[in-house]
């Protein structure tokens, strides 16, 4: 059935038709086949029971046969390879796969969720829901990007949302994994993907840029906010190519109460050149959760579509469209890393403050795309608030925040690349580690405390804990 060799090849094998193998009521490789769950363009999903674990699973079976294109099998092979290698809480768990040639199937965890496509039917969606879904989606994208996988077919159909708004990304048939041969490279027609969501560089035939997923994310976010598609549903290659230069109608022109910062995020994701977009999904997630950190540009202000002359300018810029240079996917996170600076604002030690500033400055100098989150801890709010504002909980909070901002001021880092956080906690070490994990920090900057053997210094134990348990590199600053 499936051989890529010429007809003279002795390697093609006579096998049973796939439809016969996976019939309801049969048992295949330890799975009891139940009814059909979903029929897609390229594959069928069947309910099945894993006889050994008694678990409900889904079997994905490629559509093969005379009338089916060979793409179905290549996409199936791609998904089998990539799903087996991916380990992410935001992707259905791979259980096992069958032999490509004789019993092609992928058995995976059956996740319960509603497709984003269905959610989109309930327009208009409230902004808080949009932002929550988008932030979680960014987290899920980040998770696969960190494993050197680019999805390349993100669209509402391929995103499942559960009752807690947690996200599952499905269908890796068009995905690219940096560590495996790309079976879809140079294959078939250019620009495979879904017309409304595909990035300009994919249309040009590129499959190795993780920022293509950022573009598709932008299209999805645009659709969630406005209920319409930014580049419509083009049917021709020329129609597709419009997104090389076209700027979509600003969301604020369609839904007037769209916050300017959200429009800024959407339009920046939709930039034709990958280098002009946000470089990582984790950056977008952080901005969605802290809108005040979004650097507003002209994109945020737009309430009307571009004028003819402005469009003309963009069209000229796109003549002979050359996609941006592709950074290696694993390295992009090292080029745009997040540094968590744990500054002890309870302790007034000018020398340590200065040394931490210098260390931060040096690290940021190496990474012009890098970001910094400054965090400090309040051990806990006072039980009895004093009469002046400075003694109240909010006063204490603000006091810490002012000190933190004062600490960061000499670094001259643009507002977009820096954020400030004060946490109230009894266990500062655990909170720093949690924050670093949650935001995929590349490095934690923390001050060492001077040796004071006779005193118990809480901050010192915090440092030790962070060094021992931190999820990333830890830079300890000493006096």
């Amino acid at each position: 059935m499936f051989s890529l060799f010429q007809s003279k090849s002795p390697y093609s094998i006579e096998i049973e038709a796939v439809e016969d193998i996976f019939q309801e009521g049969k048992t295949v490789d330890g799975f009891f086949i139940e009814g059909q769950f979903h029929q897609g363009g390229m594959a069928i999903l069947k309910n099945a029971k894993d006889i050994e674990t008694n678990q409900q699973v889904l079997l994905k079976i490629p559509q093969v046969g005379k009338d089916q294109p060979i793409e179905n099998l290549i996409c199936f092979e791609t998904e089998l390879t990539i799903l087996a290698a991916l380990k992410s809480p935001y992707v259905p768990r791979f259980i096992r796969g069958g032999n490509m040639a004789t019993t092609p199937y992928i058995a995976m965890e059956k996740v319960i969720g509603e497709s984003l496509e269905d959610i989109l039917q309930r327009q208009p969606l409230p902004f808080d829901q949009i932002i929550l879904i988008a932030a979680n989606l960014a987290r899920a994208i980040q998770s696969i990007h960190q494993q050197e996988v680019i999805h390349l077919d993100l669209k509402p159909d391929n995103i499942l949302v559960d009752a807690q708004f947690q996200i599952y990304i499905i269908d890796f048939g068009l995905a690219h994994h940096n560590r495996f041969p790309d079976l879809l490279a140079e294959e078939m027609r250019k620009g495979i993907g879904s017309a409304p969501y595909i990035s300009p560089e994919q249309i040009a035939g590129l499959r190795q840029d993780l920022r293509s997923d950022i573009f598709s994310f932008g299209v999805i976010l645009y659709e969630m906010v406005t209920g319409t598609l930014p580049f419509d549903h083009p049917q021709t290659l020329n129609g597709l190519r419009k997104r090389y230069w076209e700027q979509p109608k600003p969301p604020r022109a369609i839904r007037q109460d769209t916050p300017p910062w959200l429009q800024e995020i959407i339009l920046r994701c939709l930039e034709p050149f990958a280098k002009d977009r946000y470089q990582t999904a984790t950056h977008i997630r952080q901005l969605l959760r802290e809108p005040s950190a979004v650097k507003l540009t002209d994109r945020a202000k737009k309430i009307k579509p571009l004028s003819f002359w402005q469009s003309m300018q963009r069209w000229l810029n796109a003549t002979g469209y050359e996609p941006s240079e592709i950074p290696r996917s694993a390295i992009i996170y090292e080029q745009a890393p997040l540094m968590v600076a744990a500054v002890n604002t309870s302790n007034d030690d000018p020398e340590m403050f200065e040394r931490m500033q210098r260390a931060a400055e040096n690290i940021m100098r190496v990474f012009p795309e890098g970001r910094i989150s400054c965090i400090s801890m309040m051990q806990s709010s006072p039980t009895f608030e004093g009469p002046t504002e400075i003694e109240s909980a909010s006063g204490l909070y603000r006091n810490h925040l002012v000190r933190l901002q004062k600490w960061a001021a000499p670094l001259h880092i643009s507002q977009e690349r820096i954020s400030f956080h004060i946490f109230e906690t009894l266990d500062p070490g655990a909170r720093i580690i949690e924050f670093a994990k949650d935001n995929d920090a590349a490095v934690i900057l923390i001050g060492a405390t001077a040796e004071t053997p006779n005193r118990v210094v809480p901050w010192r134990s915090v440092m030790t804990k962070v060094v021992e348990e931190g999820p990333c590199s830890v830079y300890v600053v000493r006096k």
Partner: protein
């Protein structure tokens, strides 16, 4: 599930070039990974200082029925009276190697086949297309020519010192992939694959670690490996043997 340790894996060694330290390290690594068959893809000698020891070891493996060796261009140069000249440093190493080899070793080298077919596999030093013309496989087209000539699903070769895996797309064309050391790469039987396993005895990609690869015919996976070995000792031996100093530097820098 298939337990990867339960069945045979084939170790593929190319361009050992008399480097005993690298050979011993890769052999040990391959055995720890479950290798039970050992294929030597040519250029057993040349460049480094231990041709006799390396050949004796390989001859033992062949005698015990677990090894197959192919003849490479350097091996041929050591036994053919009229072999076209290579670069001066390589020629100096050939001249030196010839002086070390006994009649027994020369006979062994001259009897090696230039290409060998087994099951779905083809083993050859350079391209399977005119194997004794030592064509380099450096791109999709030369890989395609090699795969066409071999006619097998899997073609394994050396000669080019950097690791590469060429895979067949549905239009027949072969595409180059740079493998990452240690990954299990699915290499299904419905495509054709040309594996360049990389130089064991003289790595040239700026990394002094030795190259070799493992093939698992049951799981249908390829595993490219990079192995640390005492390259400073091997370089020292080159100096003491009176071989050109450049060869010692190459090992140290991996160029």
């Amino acid at each position: 599930m298939i337990n990867p340790m339960n069945h045979h894996r084939i170790a593929l060694f190319a361009d050992i070039h008399s480097n005993l330290e690298a050979f011993a390290a890769c052999l040990e690594h391959a055995q720890s990974q479950g290798a039970t068959r050992f294929i030597f893809l040519g250029d057993l000698v040349g460049y480094n200082a231990n041709p006799i020891e390396v050949l004796d070891h390989i001859m033992n493996l062949i005698a015990s029925g677990v090894g197959i060796a192919i003849r490479g261009n350097h091996d041929t140069a050591c036994v053919e009276p009229y072999f076209p000249k290579m670069n001066p440093i390589a020629d100096a190493a050939i001249t030196w190697t010839k002086e070390q080899l006994s009649t027994k070793h020369k006979h062994f080298l001259s009897e090696l086949p230039p290409i060998f077919f087994e099951d779905d596999n083809c083993y050859v030093h350079a391209s399977a297309y005119q194997p004794e013309n030592w064509h380099y496989v450096t791109d999709g087209l030369s890989a395609w020519r090699s795969a066409e000539a071999s006619g097998k699903i899997y073609t394994f070769s050396g000669h080019v010192h950097e690791q590469a895996l060429y895979y067949q797309s549905s239009v027949g064309k072969l595409i180059r992939f740079a493998p990452h050391a240690g990954d299990a790469i699915p290499t299904g039987r419905h495509r054709r694959w040309v594996s360049i396993v990389g130089s064991l005895g003289q790595p040239r990609d700026g990394n002094p670690k030795a190259n070799y690869a493992l093939f698992d015919p049951v799981a249908q996976t390829m595993h490219f490996h990079r192995v640390d070995y005492d390259h400073l000792l091997a370089a020292d031996k080159i100096k003491h043997a009176g071989l050109p100093n450049e060869l010692a530097l190459r090992l140290i820098q991996g160029i």
